[in-house]
């Protein structure tokens, strides 16, 4: 997948931000996510899936271990429900306080060919950005994430410092992305959103990397284990690339097979869409949808 993003841009993300503190915080989260985090090192970011007992995805989050505390960034739409799952599941004798940080911490995602220069401009030199490593810069943290179509640098910072930080970005000639532009960029970079994956199984979304076979039971584990040993993936989350504009919804391919578009965006004659297709329809590498031809690639979460 090519990276056609150009220039330097930023987007202020809407997220549910939760801080967990106390000696049992890691255990409380580890029991309910599909991804093993119990032995993740400090200053490390890890993406996790929350699934229901049928193994279907209910939320996606990023966990940042910082100073023996855990910062959980999860979807805005499922934030309260995910928090309730965590707090209701805390045992009477566990030390884990759950604190809502939506008003305290903001997230800005940066697109650039040279992340190092903005870090230097922020006044921090001699720091190498490593994938998924949580780097602390004063009151801010930075995490570089990689996706099939490119990299994103996420900056988390106190909300009361947001305007100062945006001034630094704009002085460095970063431009703010509109919601539509961000949607286009995230499709180009191949970042699935909850709207694309919710209600599907992780293997259907190319998210096997977020399933840990060695962590024992968690909600959905029986189903995931059965799929691993005996299952056959019938449908698959894919990226469509084409020139025609298309909207979200349920369609039929020219051969009559179903196609469910969950996200789509067009810009400068290029259109991207995230779609759920039957595996048999992907093999040729292209599909005809709504009268137009589209290149089709399976999405894989790195």
């Amino acid at each position: 997948m090519s990276n056609n993003t150009s220039g330097e841009e930023y987007y202020v993300r809407s997220q549910s931000v939760t801080l967990l503190q106390g000696s049992d915080s890691t255990n409380v989260i580890d029991r309910v996510v599909s991804t093993r985090i119990i032995d993740s090192p400090d200053s490390h970011a890890k993406d996790v899936l929350f699934c229901d007992y049928n193994g279907r995805i209910t939320d996606i989050g990023s966990i940042y271990k910082i100073q023996e505390k855990i910062l959980l960034l999860s979807s805005e739409e499922m934030g309260d429900k995910t928090r309730k799952t965590l707090i209701d599941g805390k045992s009477w004798d566990e030390q884990c306080d759950l604190i809502i940080a939506d008003e305290a911490i903001g997230r800005v995602s940066l697109i650039s060919a040279d992340f190092q220069s903005i870090i230097t401009r922020m006044g921090f030199e001699g720091i190498d950005l490593e994938r998924n490593r949580v780097m602390e810069f004063g009151d801010m943290i930075a995490v570089k994430s990689e996706f099939p179509g490119g990299s994103i640098l996420d900056i988390l910072l106190p909300r009361n410092q947001m305007s100062d930080f945006i001034s630094i970005l704009e002085d460095a000639e970063y431009s703010e992305m509109s919601e539509d532009r961000w949607n286009f960029v995230r499709l180009e970079v191949c970042i699935p959103s909850l709207v694309d994956i919710r209600g599907n199984l992780p293997n259907e979304c190319g998210m096997i990397n977020l399933i840990s076979d060695n962590k024992g039971c968690y909600p959905g584990q029986e189903i995931h284990a059965r799929l691993e040993s005996r299952g056959r993936t019938v449908k698959r989350l894919c990226l469509l690339t084409g020139e025609a504009a298309i909207g979200p919804g349920k369609y039929r391919l020219s051969n009559g097979s179903p196609a469910h578009i969950t996200s789509c965006e067009s810009s400068d004659g290029i259109s991207y869409a995230i779609v759920i297709l039957r595996v048999d329809d992907i093999e040729s590498g292209s599909v005809n949808l709504d009268g137009a031809n589209w290149k089709v690639e399976e999405l894989t979460y790195l």
């Binding site: 007992y53 004798d93 801010m140 909300r159 968690y218 584990q221």
Partner: protein
């Protein structure tokens, strides 16, 4: 100060759960097994039955014999002279459970049947 020490953080979130008067049903086998496990410490120790997130179905049972905890949020039920505690936060999930004891080499031990559960996993330790 760092990113985790500034303004705008909420107070710790408290779980709001329904509290009910808990009834527990122990089979004779379970009472005998419990007496053996208490090992004469009935005056100082209690059995705590609790639920926590996890397992294949959403919640896991936990049973511990411990010294009486100071936490005032427990309900106490006397079973054959042994004090069994259930925390108020777990009361609606654990009310009415039947506790049996199975003496098998594989998968033996205390077994819980829960009338509040819509589903349970194969090993019997998880419910939802």
């Amino acid at each position: 100060m760092g990113i985790l020490g500034g303004e705008g953080f909420s107070l710790p979130v408290v779980s709001e759960t329904e509290v009910v008067d808990v009834k527990l049903n122990f089979t004779e086998k379970a009472i005998r097994a419990l007496e053996q496990n208490m090992n004469g410490d009935e005056d100082t120790h209690v059995l705590v039955i609790s639920a926590q997130s996890g397992g294949c179905s959403g919640y896991l049972y936990d049973m511990k014999i411990i010294e009486r905890p100071e936490d005032e949020g427990f309900q106490q039920i006397s079973i054959g002279g042994i004090n069994v505690l259930v925390h108020n936060k777990d009361s609606s999930m654990l009310n009415g459970i039947q506790i049996d004891f199975k003496e098998t080499l594989m998968g033996g031990g205390f077994q819980i049947e829960n009338p509040n559960a819509d589903r349970a996993c194969g090993c019997g330790q998880s419910f939802g």
